[in-house]
């Protein structure tokens, strides 16, 4: 790890100011992706701003028909929260599949989506549920938030404070793990919300999470795995590596989507 200057933020505004002013600065949330990257000397921020002691960034709350989760809420807290399990069980289950138990104790919702690793799970949930990212500056629809590989709509001094997930009628997440890293080789989040149906895919896309309109249309007619039979997505634009060709990933998107729909019931 390269040397850096550590800043323990005590408030959001102060953190935002530091982020804007300090050269080459980065937010430290749970650190479960950032620190391994820094250890490998693949990232070298000059300044780390730790949000660990900032109040008000944790918490899970049902507000009307929306589940609002603080950015510093850990995966373990989301996975085990009775509120989440009741409102959006698919989200609790997704959180329980991120990393491993020790990683889930530290890793956070905000940290995960700000990093937008193309193989991480949360982007599928945000896009699949049509969530809204709430930052120190504004509200950003999930569809507009994830802009590319490790890229988001966040501005340089903008910090995620919470995410609001509309509670769906039905939802499920199916993940096919990369055998080595255990990240999503393909993860599909399917949600049905009154008239709207969303199918969001993580892991497969060369530029991160994406929706599958053809699947959504088919499921609108009838929300059943049968509706997806014979449907597939083209392999173009999908990742291809030693763990799976683009064709294999394209195929898995169909399989995981069908299984997710079946699971959502």
């Amino acid at each position: 790890m390269y040397a850096f200057t550590y800043h323990r933020a005590t408030g959001l505004r102060q953190a935002g100011n530091m982020l804007g002013k300090l050269e080459d600065s980065k937010i430290l949330a749970g650190g479960q992706t950032l620190l391994p990257t820094m250890k490998q000397r693949l990232a070298s921020p000059a300044n780390l701003i730790d949000l660990g002691k900032v109040d008000g960034l944790k918490g899970i709350e049902l507000k009307g028909r929306s589940l609002v989760i603080g950015a510093m809420t850990t995966h373990s807290e989301v996975a085990t929260s009775p509120v989440v399990q009741q409102a959006i069980p698919a989200l609790a289950e997704l959180a329980s599949m991120i990393g491993d138990p020790a990683v889930r104790h530290m890793g956070t919702l905000g940290g995960s989506i700000a990093n937008n690793d193309p193989n991480s799970d949360y982007p599928a949930a945000l896009v699949g549920l049509g969530a809204t990212v709430i930052t120190t500056k504004r509200r950003i629809e999930a569809d507009a938030f994830f802009t590319g590989l490790f890229e988001t709509a966040l501005e340089a001094d903008e910090i995620i404070t919470k995410v609001s997930f509309p509670v769906p009628k039905k939802a499920a997440y199916m993940k096919f793990r990369n055998p080595a890293s255990r990240f999503a080789l393909v993860g599909v989040f399917v949600a049905k919300r009154s008239s709207e149906i969303r199918v969001a895919v993580t892991g497969a896309g060369a530029s991160g999470v994406f929706r599958v309109p053809a699947f959504e249309e088919a499921l609108k007619k009838r929300f059943s795995p049968k509706s997806l039979e014979g449907l597939s997505i083209p392999a173009t634009g999908l990742n291809s590596d030693i763990h799976g060709s683009a064709e294999y990933r394209a195929h898995l998107v169909g399989v995981m989507a069908r299984r997710a729909v079946a699971k959502a019931g």
Binding site: A3, Q40, A180, S181, I242, H243, G244
Partner: protein, 789 residues
Amino acid sequence: MSATGIGAPVRRKEDYRFITGKGQYTDDLTRPGQTYITFVRSPHAHARIRRIDASAAKGMPGVVAVLTGADLAADKVGSLICGWAITSKDGSPMKMAPHPAIANTKANHVGDPVAVVVAETQAQAKDAAEKVVVDYEVLPAVVDPAKAQAKSAPQIHEVAPGNTIYEWHLGDQKAVEAAFKGAKHVTRLDIVNNRLVPNAMEPRAAIAEYDAGNDSLTLWNTTQNPHVARLVISAFVGIAPEHKLRVIAPDVGGGFGSKIFIYPEEVVCLWAARKVNRPVKWVSERTEAFVADAHGRDHVTHAEMAFDGEGKILALRAKTIANLGAYMSTFSSSVPTYLYATLLSGQYEIPQIYCEVDAVYTNTVPVDAYRGAGRPEATFVVERLVEVGAREMQIDPADLRRRNFVKKFPHQTPVIMAYDAGDYNASLKKAMELADVKGFAKRKRESARAGKLRGLGYSTYIEACGIAPSQAVGSLGAGVGLWESAEVRVNPTGSVEVLTGCHQHGQGHETTFAQVVSDRLGIPIENVSVVHGDTDKVQFGMGTYGSRSGAVGISAIVKALDKVEAKAKKVASHLLEAAEADIVFENGQFKVAGTDKVAAFGDVALNAYIAHKFSGQELEPGLKEGSFYDPTNFTFPAGCHICEVEVDTETGQVEVVAWTAVDDFGKVINPMIVEGQVHGGIAQGVGQALLENTTYDTDGQLVTGSYMDYTMPRADNLPSFRVETTETLAPSNPLGIKGCGEAGAIASPAAVINAITDALGTEEIAMPATPAAVWAALQKVNQSRKAAE
């Protein structure tokens, strides 16, 4: 059987320190004034080193020294060596290229050290290492062993034209050709035995310390064989004379072969420690280990088996290209030759066998022994040929095996080995019962109802362990003898220290060796301690690998115990005032036959030392005996593993749903520990078959360079195992021990692949059978079915 004697599942004596965090691994040690070393490694697979500019690095905070291959050469530090000479079929010796501990003129694989930085802290050493500027002229690289001998391939070492280290063969080629001509059926297979990274959980480490007052060096090192390390570093690398170099292998966190070898890093630490006159510590990082630890396997093989009309095997032939990487590691040459081709007879009577092996250099990390070393490769060839042959001839695979089993012992194979004892039917029969092979068809139907394919695969394997007698291995080219040593020191109070030349890094010697002593001397196991891993404490020994510690190491202890008992009887005869011939030793007591006169073991021990009852001229005081034990043959553990898998046809995911292992290890000292060894071996074999692969791109960059891409077996990849034993005693050593350390890794890959191919209905699946690979294979099957319709 006593509660702590031979055959008892004694709980391990060494565990307390490990479960309380008090183990002392090399990285846990700190020497006063210690510095840290970081290796600057080549980012290129093949590159000439034009110039190294260390000036910026030298100016970095905390830097003590920056050293290069030129400095090493100037100090006349010798080359690392391969200690097993192989002769090509044309009579020429193997082409061993120089292997400097730091590359001086040319880097030959990604990770080849080109400079080192010694600094006050680890972080400072790493920071400065990035400032070492190396001017490389990048050369074309070759990584695929099948392409290394091509005329167009880049040449790696001058001494080895065509990158060919040797072209070796074993067996009677003409007799094999004749046998194939008379065959009713020939089974042919192309096999790639995938390259693996050993990945002991403790990364390698070294601390070297120079004592200027005595001009001596001490090396704490993660080694499986401290004496061999000292010998090579002294006699060949020339760092210090043997008596001025102490090598200590403290607790070592797993080896699996990868810690046998003498590596550049420990050599450089020793050299640098003397240069900077301060202790120098190196601890490998995991990603560093991927490019610095010797890899395993990496064979490309074409093999054929000839059968008669009754399914009897007539002959086997194989042509293998073995990738030894960029340099010849310590025992690399022996692995694809005498540890491989000699096992191609499997458990079968095969009248004729011929095997050709070309060993090649490539621009990859050196390849050497990894758990099983050659024998897993041989077993895979034989057990795949037999299985596929059975399917092609529509003979039940178990039946075909039975028809061909060796049933009479001793049995001389056409490939050197003389099997001395075994009962292959017994282990197959027991395994088939335990695995409920009869119920398989029903289980297959149940899986089909759930939309899954189910398959069952056998592997009836044999291995040759112990890797001795020394005279025999010497005649095959080994540079060392493969005996083992022991010293049994009885203290005046009757407690015992056993000094063994073996080294434990997970095997539980502190328990099993103590069991043997407790059993023999009738003393409590708590009164026995096992000393190993320090060249200043222990007599020369050969270390632990090749499942040899039981068969050879324990045998040495038994021989020393024989001498202790003989000497103690003399002491007892004086103490009990009886003729030596009348003294019997039973249940820890010396008795005068036919009388009630007895002396406890402790009393005899004390009297041996106080020496009041006998003249020191007639009988030397003391009770300490040593032995150098050389067996009369290899040992031949064998058995049957049965794997059952379920395949998700939509994703290609293979689940190992059941595993049965029945092994014949001869005499078992501690069944609990033996079962644990089998479990671990199976996991590594399943890892090879389903998960693990080492991938280089065509430029020689390691694609699977960390756990992000190299799939380590995890708990949810594996089932619980059914493990049992049968027993035929090994006639070549006193207790009849055969060895158990490698069996699981040797047997299991073939069992997995035989099960998967059984499920899929195609033989076209290579290791590792990843979900993507299985899915692709299924697509092919479906396409050819459609075409056939």
